[in-house]
């Protein structure tokens, strides 16, 4: 078992130039010199550059109000930068029609609202970008809805009203809706907010599995550092509207930027991974790592 406090030097730079500059399909989302403000004359982000790599799970972390959800909204076209460029799959997101964008990325927005519909009806909403004006599902759409419900493990709740489900089941239904949208990129904005710890890990395991088996690119804004560190390939660390570090999770953790952003000491904790009967590790490490966090004395 590893018991050490990592407290490295803060990395003041933005995302690494190698990542930011990459104009290749490996960039699922790319922010280039993005400036944004919520109030005229009061800049919130200035010249921000960052990249979300394709084919990986990336977490955007940082204290409240640092701009994590703003990054998501900029990519989703809900907010427009005052300067710079945001690309999704190589396309300037501001120039995409909302329907075109919906073919490239699925977003699970943070919301406490529970729509009054069944699980199946919710998942069917994910097919909306693929439907004609009348909104009628064809055989292919029905198959996609069925597959998405099976994949997210909510097929047995198909006829349940969302209001009857637990928070974890409901969130899986929302993930199924994003799967039915059939995009390579899924963006989750604080997907674990209303979930208990067990449901959080179930959901993150599903996210990991979607990446591993189907090659989905997942970008998520997440508050829980332990979850972000355990389940992400890459981290983007934000503070006060700036990206203070970005890169592979281990490297960013070693740099100390995550701990500095939250004023926490982060202690990795390894334990052997015990294979269940019939399970193989599929290339995963034979130990699993969790993290214990201690507030720094002020």
């Amino acid at each position: 078992m590893t018991e050490c406090v990592i407290r490295g030097e803060r990395t003041p730079s933005c995302a690494r130039p190698a990542d930011v500059g990459a104009r290749s399909p490996e960039c699922a989302i790319r922010y280039e010199g993005v400036s944004f403000s919520y109030k005229p004359g009061v800049p919130f982000m200035e010249g921000l550059s960052a990249a979300i790599p394709a084919g990986a799970v990336t977490s955007i972390v940082g204290p409240n109000g640092c701009g994590k959800s703003t990054l998501v909204k900029l990519a989703a076209g809900l907010l427009r930068p005052v300067a710079g460029r945001v690309e999704v799959a190589g396309h300037d997101t501001g120039e995409l029609a909302s329907r075109e964008r919906a073919h490239l990325m699925a977003v699970l927005a943070q919301s406490s609202r529970v729509p009054p519909m069944t699980v199946e009806a919710l998942v069917a909403c994910g097919r909306h970008p693929h439907l004609a004006w009348g909104g009628r599902l064809g055989p292919d759409d029905r198959a996609a809805v069925e597959a998405a419900m099976e994949r997210a493990g909510v097929a047995r709740f198909r006829s349940h009203d969302l209001r009857q489900l637990s928070g974890g089941e409901r969130q899986r239904a929302h993930v199924a809706r994003t799967l039915a949208q059939d995009t390579d990129l899924i963006v989750l904005d604080e997907p674990t907010t209303y979930l208990d710890i067990s449901a959080c890990h179930d959901l993150m395991a599903l996210v990991r599995d979607l990446n591993r088996r189907e090659g989905k690119t997942v970008a998520m804004v997440i508050h829980d550092l332990d979850l972000a560190l355990r389940y992400s390939d890459y981290l983007v660390v934000m503070q006060k509207g700036r990206v203070v570090d970005a890169g592979p999770t281990d490297e960013v953790l070693a740099s100390g930027a995550v701990g500095d952003a939250f004023s926490m000491d982060i202690c990795p904790h390894d334990r052997p991974r015990f294979a269940e009967r019939g399970e193989d590790f599929e290339g995963r490490a034979e130990t699993e790592r969790g993290y214990v966090l201690y507030p720094r004395r002020r």
């Binding site: 909204k73 989703a76 076209g77 809900l78 029609a97 909302s98 329907r99 075109e100 964008r101 919906a102 073919h103 990325m105 699925a106 977003v107 699970l108 927005a109 919301s111 609202r113 729509p115 009054p116 519909m117 069944t118 009806a121 919710l122 909403c125 994910g126 909306h128 970008p129 439907l131 004006w133 009348g134 909104g135 006829s159 949208q181």
Partner: protein, 332 residues
């Protein structure tokens, strides 16, 4: 039973109820017309002159007016509730009917006798009010209850405007007292031609946009991420709601609560899928107003209540029920 089968049965049952209410409304009244006479008139057979006269000049225009007003107001209510995500909203509660009413009286006073202008003015008045409420609910982040209170304030101001017009120009609108509470007595076929066209277009547009309203119920951000132009859909469907409410007000006056009561009732039976709520509300709204208008005619015969008064007796308590039902959450 699957939800689709259940909903088909509900819609079919509502259609049968509408047919029964329509037959009853055409035959019952101060001078009754028998069912065989009605059937004979429908197929162009032999009918007494009196029965023909009653049907063609009194009952048919009135029942047609009730059908159109009910379908339009109930559908308008369903659209407004979905667009504003507010269970308490309806054309009369948020002031859309009053906006239409003020515009109708203003048009009648300024351009007397222009039948074509009445529904157009009503639409413009209804749309302007809907846009004010939309801007208030979006721009200021008002709670659902505050939107309703704003609607009450708008209704009060527009009510004062209508009363001012009727005092300054008492001949502007014949039957103004019935207009102010909502009633269908004295409606003629020629009054219905233009509004019927508006309502037909409005109902088709409401049905076409119902699927998009389902996506809006996921929340603005989710709807946007699914490729829906949230603001355009909301504005478009509010405009459709204004067309429907305005057209109904133009000949039926300020009939209230149909747009509040009926969509809630139909959601109880068909769920929240707007592709079912919209057609079911149109049918049930038509049946509801036809039935209420019949009751208003026969309850205190030989006296006749304007149907708006009877609807207010039903709708007022229902509105209080909704407030109590939603007090634990959802209003703020």
């Amino acid at each position: 039973m699957g939800s689709v089968s259940r909903n088909i049965i509900v819609v079919a049952a509502t259609a049968i109820f509408l047919a029964a209410a329509t037959a009853a409304a055409l035959t019952l009244g101060a001078s009754s017309v028998s069912l065989p006479e009605l059937a004979a008139w429908l197929v162009g057979g032999d009918v007494s002159d009196m029965a023909r006269n009653i049907l063609e000049n009194v009952r048919v225009p009135r029942v047609l007016a009730a059908l159109l007003a009910g379908a339009a107001l109930a559908t308008s209510g369903a659209l407004i509730q979905a667009c504003l995500d507010n269970p308490l909203a309806s054309p009369n509660v948020i002031g859309v009917n009053s906006g239409a009413g003020l515009a109708v009286l203003l048009a009648a006073s300024l351009v007397p006798g222009a039948l074509w202008l009445t529904p157009l003015a009503a639409f413009i008045g209804a749309l302007a009010t809907a846009l004010i409420i939309f801007a208030l609910s979006l721009g200021t982040g008002l709670s659902r209850l505050t939107v309703v209170l704003a609607g009450i304030a708008i209704t009060t101001v527009f009510g004062a405007g209508m009363n001012t017009i009727l005092i300054v120009d008492p001949d502007a609108y014949i039957g103004s007292s019935t207009f102010l509470v909502g009633g269908l007595s004295g409606v003629l076929m020629r009054d219905l031609a233009w509004p019927a066209a508006y309502i037909a277009v409005g109902l088709v547009a409401a049905l076409a946009g119902a699927a998009k309203l389902n996506i809006l119920s996921l929340g603005d951000e989710a709807a946007h991420s699914l490729g829906v132009n949230v603001r355009a859909v909301r504005l478009g469907m509010l405009a459709v709601a204004a067309v429907l409410a305005g057209a109904a007000v133009s000949f039926a006056g300020l009939i209230g609560f149909v747009g509040l009561v009926v969509p809630h009732l139909m959601r109880f039976f068909v769920g929240h899928d707007n592709r079912w709520v919209v057609p079911a509300s149109a049918l049930a709204g038509a049946a509801f107003v036809v039935g209420c208008d019949l009751l208003a005619r026969v309850l205190f015969a030989p006296y006749e209540l304007p149907v708006g008064i009877l609807l207010a007796f039903i709708g007022g308590p229902f509105f209080i029920y909704l407030i109590l039902k939603n007090k634990g959450g959802g209003l703020d």
